[in-house]
């Protein structure tokens, strides 16, 4: 189906918007049902069969709620922050190849696009925290900045290791290089990068920290900072931050699948690529939820020490090691 370029692009973008919207809603449902099962209870069951209509009910409630903007708030920044949360996620999804030809715009520099937009997410949460003139929000804004800066570096170091092994920045080419049986996936390519699983783990931890999830939810630490940076938001403002958070988790897991688990390459080569890509992505998202409902929150300086003193040395080490192995073999 080779529609003319602009119509194809518009169709893809609308498809992506629907994908993100659908995912944000039903990841919330999956998280509530999953946390229920972890805690030996049921999760939402009333609205629709097994609570399937719950996300729709939630979004309608959020939409109809009054979005009140407190008077002492810095109006422009307060309204801009929610938009800044959504835009990077949408744009980076446009570059991600869901399967062989299912990609909005296969840019040659796909990897760089994703990471450059990834850092805007930090700006958004900080703006929200700063603009709402609320003491808890300001503390959380300060935390978010230092946390994301600390975890940006090991993530990029890991990406550089991948770049070295696949020497291309185009996401679909990275996946093509991992074709064949599943030990061709980057996570198992010990011949190029002897510490490949460790690199995957470092990338995964950094992704968790980037999206303020699980043991590192410093920004929205509900038992300390009430609701952190988004305390003053209500109605759809709060809803958009929620969608933004899940969209970023989506992008993070998609990236992890592409870079390490061989994107749409199927281990047994029978079903279409997109199915395998989504399967791997949702397994990783399940792991994000699994981690969230098991661990308490780390301290703030332990979090920073973990990054500066542990993750960065490890990622630097793997970088050098990969360089040596590539050079020798």
């Amino acid at each position: 189906m080779n529609l003319p370029e602009p119509i194809r692009l518009v169709a893809f973008l609308v498809g992506l918007m629907a994908f993100v919207g659908f995912n944000a809603a039903y990841l919330v449902w999956a998280e509530r049902k999953g946390s229920g099962r972890f805690q030996r209870r049921l999760g939402p069951t009333e609205v629709g069969f097994a609570g399937l209509l719950q996300p729709i009910a939630d979004s309608i409630k959020l939409l109809t709620k009054q979005l009140l903007v407190p008077p002492t708030v810095d109006g422009l920044l307060f309204r801009a922050a929610p938009l800044l949360v959504i835009i990077p996620a949408m744009v980076s999804l446009a570059v991600i190849p869901f399967s062989e030809n299912l990609v909005a715009r296969d840019l040659h520099l796909g990897l760089l696009v994703v990471f450059s937009f990834g850092s805007i997410h930090v700006l958004a949460v900080m703006l929200a925290g700063w603009a709402s003139r609320n003491k808890y929000a300001i503390i959380s804004a300060a935390r978010v900045v230092s946390q994301n800066v600390a975890y940006e570096i090991p993530m990029l170091l890991v990406v550089i290791t991948i770049l070295m092994t696949t020497n291309t920045t185009s996401l679909s080419e990275i996946v093509q290089k991992q074709a064949g049986p599943f030990w061709h996936w980057n996570i198992f390519r010990l011949d190029q990068n002897p510490l490949a699983p460790v690199t995957f783990l470092v990338f995964y931890i950094c992704m968790l920290a980037e999206t303020n999830r699980a043991p590192f939810d410093m920004a929205e630490a509900e038992s300390e900072l009430v609701a952190g940076a988004i305390t003053e938001y209500s109605g759809m403002g709060f809803g958009v931050f929620f969608i933004g958070e899940y969209a970023n988790v989506l992008v993070g897991c998609a990236l992890a699948t592409l870079l390490f688990l061989g994107g749409w390459q199927s281990p047994i080569g029978v079903l279409p690529g997109a199915f395998w890509f989504l399967l791997k992505m949702y397994v990783l998202i399940f792991a994000v939820m699994w981690v969230r409902w098991t661990f308490p929150r780390t301290q703030f300086y332990t979090l920073l020490n973990l990054s500066w003193k542990v993750l960065i040395p490890i990622s630097l080490g793997t970088l050098v090691l990969t360089a040596i192995t590539l050079k020798l073999f």
Partner: protein, 377 residues
Amino acid sequence: MTPAEAIEAARRAGNETFILNLGPQHPATHGVLRIKLTMDGEYILRAEPVAGYIHRMHEKMGENRTWAQYLPNTSRIDYLSAMTYTHAYVAAVERAAGIEVPRRAEFIRVITSELNRISSHLVWFGAFLLDLGGFTPLLYAFDDREKILDMLEAITGSRLTYCYYRFGGVYNDVDDAFLGAARDFVPYMRERLKMYETLVTENLILRKRLEGIGPISKKMCHKYGATGPVMRGSGIAYDVRRMEPYSVYPELEFDIPHYPEGDCMARYRVRMEEMAQSLRIIEQAVAMIPAGPFQTPGVPKSLKPPAGDYCFAVEAARGRLMVRIVSDGKEMPYRVRWRTPSFCNITLFEEASRGMMLADALALLGSLDLVIPDIDR
């Protein structure tokens, strides 16, 4: 000093501080306690707890009710370990009026008090981890606590505010179903404590979060009169069941867990091991409980204990609970004074939390295991 002076002093010192109100509505205070924090960035310069939001004046209520009518009040001061509070008041009046308590009633009191201690520690365990961000253990702990509450509801009729003890014994007898349920509960709970051990106690994140945080020295415990797991976490093995033995505790085999470090992890470990010790007590008590009357007959309906003042101390879940009753020979108490453990434990928060970060101060607050009506009465 007043907040204005604090801000002035801080401004002169060149850094800009702000006052952050932790509470009275805050997820981590588990009740209506407000702490005025003078903060410099994320570090706490000065923490001043403000109490009184749930003050109901139990001590004045004591003065216009008869001795027996005051019983429902006793289980509403610290609703999490209501049995031990009723035990303290009832035993104080028995000591004043010289009422004998049959052995079976004493054993029933020990079993129900220890069950209540475990259910109170389970609430603390869940709420403490909730403050630290781990949500799931709370639901496992409440699942176990549900079993205890069902057992106690079967014999007393209510789940939280029992009002089960009477002067000279208990309200109604304990049947074999209850004793059987208590006997089966012990191995089940030991299994669950092992699970909490792997899930939480050995968890690297939790240990990093609690070790070395909020050190409370022995000297501080002495000065502020902090008792219970807080004192036992700082190395002093003080437990009223051993130091001022009452009821049938001297006949029971159990030891007092205590750790010298005095940080949040030590207090955490003390409470977890206390649950194991309570299980040991319940096991022995269920085995040793004799048959016989559960209440001394002939206790006058309108009791008039001889004039004078008497006091009785009990080991509640949060620490040493002392009741001082003054009687002037009439049928209404002249004065009832409750020395509650949380009231003394909160006073050391100001000194212990100076210079800490907000998240650590909340971990310290959670490790003190405060019940706010216990402070306000």
